[in-house]
């Protein structure tokens, strides 16, 4: 039998005004197992905690019940107090007589009666409590960053600077991500490459950072502190160690008709290629679908011209298995495909482009060498129309319900850059709302209007009709003037909604990280834990969590790094002791529990069981305490009751039920 002490808190008048605390003390004193009961003004105060410690020592208590506020508020406080007094912290139960009683009931008699019943339930439970000890698991001092864009690079740099090993896995041949495709960045109009390239170089040179480009995460197992990850290094067909990055192979490659991913298909690349000049690593990849050697067996020119002998047609995919303590997801975004939006004639006219395509057009290394020209005929445009919110803020199934957040600002940037460089070009922007919260952001947008004369029209475009002469007739509306507008344009730029990179679904599944209906990764708490996934040990960096611009991405990347560092800095992790526990004698070995476990914490083992004298080999369930999070799903699937949950055992809950229904 336990020796239980009951402590009833007044919480000032919060509880005492509606619950007769003295009466509660008098009644619970007679409950089975109770050897001590008292009340106090504020149990959570230093003095209140001292009362508990004193009672534990004097009455040799083996369990305590605190009748107070919600356990979500002070359970941890009282557990620590008990632990300091030499009691196992899991011998403490809370009866919630504030939120669930005094605050919602007015009648003192009723509330007091209920408080007594809640106290009885807690006492009945404590009677069956057993001391629990948090387990420990080790922490591998190495982090994995999935995605090599600005988010991934920044996170990796921050973690590495703190002294931990970091691996970056990037699926394309080079790190750099979307930012490397941008021309200038708002609100300061720095050249994107000028600020990104040094970071890429720094990452590549950092002794603590290993970069796997042209690689993908294949399999993840394990748990916080101890993940095991298989990384598939796709066959590059070029020996990384031998290649000097001279670029001759790309020049000589006869297959040059593959649309360049980097230039968003606006230009072509060779079959052996690096995506862009500043690529890191500066080692090309052979696109085997485009390569003549791979398609026909003939050619091999790149091999012949390579003085370093780096070309290796026989190279195979390679799987690298590595252990990590923390994983940061930084998979980024893409724009949606616009094939369902042909009222804007995206598929009909080369002069209707997305904003990301415009970035390439404006970029000196892009398909037009940075000259603003129509892609259909190379002519200099006179009128450019920007259409905002293409696919953003849509509740139909063509687009996405959210705001892409970055478009208002980059459109202002594009408009300004064009007007600055080509004052003869008229720029019109059709918008629904202009959203520019952020430091110096609205000022930036106003500059576009006030200093650069960009024509902002509140309203949408219904149709873009290519004309026989090659111009584009834009039919829109000016809602403030209540007029329909027909406007000739030479180019139309669509601010296309962004979506999480499609690869994220597979990665989220592997990590058991949750994902929302728009495929953005879910954060653990929208306000208080914005860079942590609900899955322990998994952190979020950049747009994979939600639309954000570069400054926000970099800030979040740093935050994710700090969270990862905080984890890696620990030598051991304490595990939740309220985990499932199988009774091997009762286990049928049927696997029902393993089928419902969301963490893969249950495995089966065949072992010799001594069941009251019968010794036989049996297949029995085993729970990995580091993986088990204590949901209890397994306990209910187990027909024999062999699987139970520590801290919330079948008998404990039954005892609470009995106490309440008594």
């Amino acid at each position: 039998m336990q020796r239980i002490g009951v402590f009833v808190c007044h919480c000032g008048s919060n509880i005492a005004a509606t619950v007769d605390v003295k009466k509660v003390v008098e009644i619970v004193r007679n409950e089975p197992g109770v050897v001590h009961a008292e009340d106090y003004q504020y149990m959570c105060s230093e003095a209140g905690q001292a009362l508990i410690a004193k009672a534990i020592a004097e009455k040799n208590l083996s369990g305590i019940v605190v009748c107070s506020c919600s356990p979500r508020m002070h359970e941890a406080t009282f557990r620590k107090a008990a632990e300091r007094a030499g009691l196992n912290p899991y011998m403490v139960e809370i009866a919630n007589i504030r939120e669930h009683c005094s605050w919602i009931h007015k009648n003192v008699e009723e509330a007091t009666e209920k408080a007594v019943i809640l106290a009885r339930a807690a006492i009945a439970k404590v009677n069956l409590n057993a001391p629990l000890k948090a387990g420990e698991s080790r922490v591998t001092k190495r982090a994995l960053v999935i995605g090599g864009g600005i988010a991934g690079i920044q996170t990796a740099l921050d973690i590495a600077d703190a002294g931990y090993e970091v691996d970056i896995v990037e699926k394309t041949p080079s790190i750099g991500g979307r930012m490397s495709q941008l021309d200038k960045t708002f609100p300061t109009l720095d050249c994107s490459a000028c600020i990104l390239t040094p970071k890429m170089v720094e990452a590549a040179a950092h002794e603590k950072i290993t970069i796997y480009t042209y690689s993908e995460v294949e399999k993840v197992s394990g748990f916080v502190g101890d993940f095991t990850v298989d990384i598939r290094k796709k066959a590059r067909s070029v020996d990384m160690d031998k290649c000097t990055g001279c670029g001759v192979c790309q020049e000589k490659c006869p297959s040059k008709k593959t649309p360049s991913e980097f230039n968003r298909g606006l230009g072509n690349r060779s079959a052996i290629y690096t995506p862009f000049a500043q690529a890191i690593p500066n080692v090309p990849v052979i696109d085997r679908d485009a390569c003549i050697k791979f398609k026909t067996g003939k050619c091999g020119i790149c091999s012949k011209v390579c003085q370093a002998g780096a070309i290796d047609y026989e190279q195979k995919d390679e799987i690298v298995t590595e252990k990590y303590g923390a994983i940061v997801v930084a998979t980024g975004f893409d724009t949606i495909k616009l094939d369902k939006y042909d009222e804007y004639a995206y598929n009909q006219s080369k002069d209707v482009i997305t904003s990301l395509e415009l970035e390439r057009v404006m970029n000196a290394a892009g398909p037009t060498k940075g000259h603003l020209e129509r892609l259909s005929d190379g002519k200099h445009p006179k009128n450019i129309v920007f259409i905002q919110c293409v696919g953003s803020r849509c509740s139909d199934d063509r687009g996405k319900p959210y705001c892409s957040k970055i478009c208002c600002m980059y459109t202002a940037k594009h408009a300004m850059l064009i007007r600055d460089k080509y004052p003869d070009v008229n720029v019109t922007v059709f918008y629904i709302d202009v959203r520019t919260p952020g430091k110096n952001f609205d000022e930036f947008y106003r500059r576009a209007v006030e200093d650069y004369g960009v024509n902002y029209i509140k309203g949408q475009v219904g149709k873009v009709a290519p004309q026989p002469d090659g111009s584009l007739l834009v039919q829109g509306v000016d809602l403030l003037d209540n007029k329909q507008i027909l406007m000739e344009a030479d180019m139309v730029v669509l601010a296309t909604v962004i979506e999480p990179d499609p690869s994220v679904r597979k990665i989220a599944t592997m990590l058991t990280a949750s994902i929302d209906t728009n495929n953005f990764l879910t954060e653990s708490h929208a306000k208080l834990r914005p860079v942590e996934s609900p899955t322990a040990g998994v952190f979020l960096s950049g747009v994979c969590q939600g639309p954000k611009d570069i400054p926000e991405t970099v800030a979040q990347a740093g935050a994710a790094a700090v969270k990862a560092i905080g984890l890696l800095a620990k030598d051991k992790l304490l595990t939740n002791p309220c985990t499932a526990k199988p009774d091997e004698l009762l286990c049928n070995g049927c696997s029902a529990c393993a089928n419902v476990c969301p963490y893969g914490a249950i495995t089966y083992e065949t072992k010799l069981i001594n069941d009251h004298g019968i010794r036989e080999e049996r297949r029995v369930a085993q729970v990995n305490n580091a993986l088990c999070q204590g949901c209890g799903a397994c306990t209910v699937t187990c027909p024999s009751g062999a699987m139970d949950l520590q801290g919330f055992s079948n008998r404990q809950i039954i005892a609470e039920v009995d106490a309440i229904c008594r």
Binding site: G462, K463, V477, Q484
Partner: protein
């Protein structure tokens, strides 16, 4: 029109049309798409406001009701699934049900006919213009 009656009619319009006017974000894509925009006194994107403000008097007296071509461009392109075209038709229904009032009377029609006019035009117009 009394206030109560207007309220009731606004509800009726929402019911007949099955449109939730609160979903509208005033982007104007309906008006940008509408081929009859210039003929209309109340513009497509404004229908929603009239229904939300229970200003049915103006709406049912609007000539816009009889200018809509039912071409569904607004319905197809509306990003918020508001479907202004449905509101127009509901308002039209309201008018013909309430007054039995036809937009065109039977007498007016013969002078507008020509021998090549397809049957389809007549039945469509018949259904849109009167009950």
């Amino acid at each position: 029109m009394s206030h109560d009656k207007t309220k009731k009619q606004a509800e009726l319009i929402r019911e007949i049309s099955g449109v939730n006017p609160y979903k509208c974000m005033k982007c104007g894509k309906c008006s940008a798409s509408c081929p009859s925009f210039n003929e209309m006194d109340i513009k497509p994107h404004q229908f929603v406001s009239y229904v939300l403000n229970d200003d049915l008097e103006a709406l049912v007296n609007s000539k816009s009701l009889w200018k809509c071509l039912s071409c569904f461009a607004c319905i197809e392109r509306c990003p918020r699934d508001v479907k202004p075209g449905k509101l127009v038709d509901a308002a039209r229904q309201l008018v013909v049900r309430e007054r039995g009032g036809d937009f065109l009377s039977a007498d007016e029609i013969p002078e507008k006919l020509d021998p090549e006019l397809p049957q389809q035009l007549l039945v469509s117009a018949f259904r849109r213009y009167r009950r």
